[in-house]
């Protein structure tokens, strides 16, 4: 089993963190994983990309060749990095920011805002992707998230992961 996931967006959306968390969760669950990233020189804005490969065997080439899951959280991110989908690959975009025909548009930002802080949009997205991949129990992902967020924000982040999972479940039902 090998899953290739690419997350793109703009710098500051926390997509590198999202990739790291996903990778950490994967290795805790006993898989092999590689995470890479690239961004422009700007600290904020620009187009950033975070890639994770999760496999049941050691991974050779560490970059995504054909994405099984492509997540775009910004239009420029999608325009720049939204290529190379695998057959049967799934495209997920931020509903409020990205126009992409045929993609699943999900309200990550709005959901985060409803939870109280827009900044956890990436964690909501992680909850969604975790449910979509269905490679490990939800607690494994949540624990990985909690190990990587500031002290005092555990409750918010836990709810963000849950909200993401619920978004996926709702989408799967409709």
């Amino acid at each position: 089993m090998q899953k290739e996931i690419r997350i793109c967006g703009f710098g500051g959306q926390g997509i590198v963190l999202a990739g790291v968390v996903l990778g950490e969760a994967a290795i805790r669950a006993g898989y092999w994983a590689v995470q890479t990233q690239s961004y422009g020189p700007e600290a904020r804005g620009g187009a950033a990309r975070s890639e994770i490969i999760i496999s049941s065997e050691p991974v050779d080439y560490p970059r995504v060749q054909a994405a099984d899951v492509l997540v775009a959280l910004s239009q420029p991110g999608f325009d720049k990095f939204g290529r190379g989908l695998a057959e049967g690959g799934i495209v997920i975009v931020e509903q409020d920011l990205v126009e992409a025909g045929g993609a699943r548009a999900v309200p990550f930002a709005r959901t985060a805002e409803k939870l109280g802080r827009k900044i956890v949009g990436n964690i909501v997205m992680l909850g969604y992707v975790g449910a979509l991949l269905d490679l490990f129990p939800p607690e494994v992902l949540t624990e990985a998230v909690l190990r990587n967020v500031p002290a005092g924000t555990e409750d918010l982040n836990r709810r963000a992961v849950l909200a993401g999972r619920e978004l996926f479940a709702a989408g799967a039902r409709s």
């Binding site: 290795i27 050779d60 560490p62 060749q65």
Partner: protein, 398 residues
């Protein structure tokens, strides 16, 4: 002199045995597990994370970590520290590596154990600071002036960042030489699972101290093969260390062609003769293959991906990965080339190790390259295409 190596203390500070971390951080872990207690460095993308990690970790194990005013000062301080008995290292990238060359030569000439990590980035000059490359490989071999040999290791994974950095310290101590760990911006910044070694997997091989007392001890006389014992500063041996041509007593002997020849040949043979012991490669041979890949570092990951695809499509291919790039494993490369008609060398440069391969293979097989620059690592597809349709030719010195 430092206290003994305390595995329990170090592994306690490094955290869980299994971690998901970056290559740069893994190098820092490897350094501690290799007995490093001195780091002097200067910030440079993409190696800065090594200095940052060590600035947090080293003081907690009684080590010294300092940021010097430039890369030349960094390698200078490392060499000075090594002479007090500490295992010392620095980390840099291309531009800093260029600056350090004079003193790397000094470390060769004075037989000072030390470790230098070069997290290679796209050059020449300032180039693309955040993009990976493999453009410093021949500089690793010949960057400093004069006749010398060097030991250079090429990690291809985050795990190897741990293990080869550890190994580098033992090699530096054993051969009394600088050892280079040539990573790159991709391996340095990507995250993978690492498993830290258990106590019984960690071996700290110390430099040999003098077996004769002060007065009788001859500091640059080889006693074990071509390697002299080493007396550290402050131990009463009054060792004179110089970059000038010196005799076995360590005293300048610049007007003696004989002394110079004796010294420099010994320094070179010290490492060249040990090529079989230092050779570390990974071979994946396929019976009947006419083409083979020779790779190292991050490009070996791309090559492995290509091998998988080619074989799945029914094409036979062999693969040789160099873990120790220098001293160059000529005998292994020649044996690898013997049954082959073509060898393709993928590198993130316009051709460096392919020349060394070509010289070693000496016409027994045609050498081609996959030369990629600009920051993106080589894709398996690009190597597959080269195998099927032919790679770029290799001409002398370009």
């Amino acid at each position: 002199m430092t206290a003994g190596f305390d595995y329990e203390k170090i592994s306690g500070i490094l955290g869980p045995r299994e971690q998901f971390t970056q290559g740069d951080v893994a190098c820092a872990y490897g350094a501690l597990l290799g007995g490093c207690t001195f780091f002097a460095g200067y910030p440079i993308t993409p190696a800065t994370e090594i200095a940052e990690a060590l600035s947090r970790l080293l003081p907690r194990v009684g080590g010294i970590c300092t940021q010097m005013e430039d890369e030349i000062a960094s390698i200078s301080a490392v060499i000075g520290a090594s002479w007090t008995g500490r295992r010392a290292m620095t980390a840099t990238s291309g531009p800093g590596f260029s600056l350090m060359q004079e003193n790397i030569g000094y470390a060769c000439m004075s037989e000072t154990p030390c470790v230098i990590i070069d997290v290679q980035r796209s050059g020449p000059s300032t180039g693309q600071p955040t993009e990976p490359a493999q453009g410093d490989m021949l500089q690793a071999r010949w960057g400093t002036h004069g006749d010398h040999e060097i030991i250079a290791l090429a990690p291809a994974s985050v795990q190897e960042c741990v293990d080869l950095t550890r190994k580098a310290f033992n090699l530096a101590e054993e051969y009394r030489t600088p050892v280079l760990v040539m990573t790159d911006g991709e391996v340095g910044h990507m995250r993978e699972k690492i498993v830290l070694p258990a106590a019984d997997e960690v071996e700290i091989r110390r430099r040999s101290g003098p077996s004769t007392p002060p007065g009788a001890f001859v500091p640059f006389q080889a006693t074990r093969g071509k390697i002299p014992e080493m007396a550290g500063f402050g131990t009463g041996f009054h060792t004179y260390v110089t970059g000038l041509t010196h005799d076995e007593r360590g005293l300048p002997a610049t007007s003696s062609a004989n002394a110079h020849t004796r010294l420099v040949r010994r320094l070179c043979e010290k490492i060249a003769d040990a090529t079989p012991a230092l050779t570390d490669v990974e071979q994946d041979l396929q019976e009947g293959a006419e083409a083979g890949l020779i790779s190292y570092g991050i490009s070996a990951r791309s090559a492995a991906g290509a091998v998988k695809r080619l074989r799945r499509d029914g094409l036979k291919i062999s693969h040789l990965r160099l873990v120790t790039v220098f001293p160059f494993p000529e005998a292994v490369v020649q044996a690898f080339a013997a049954p082959l008609a073509r060898i393709i060398v993928p590198e993130l440069n316009l051709g460096q190790i392919c020349h060394v391969v070509r010289e070693a293979v000496d016409g027994a097989a045609r050498i081609e390259r996959v030369a990629k620059i600009g920051g993106e690592i080589i894709t398996p597809l690009e190597i597959v295409r080269a195998v099927r349709e032919g790679g770029e030719p290799v001409r002398a010195a370009s």
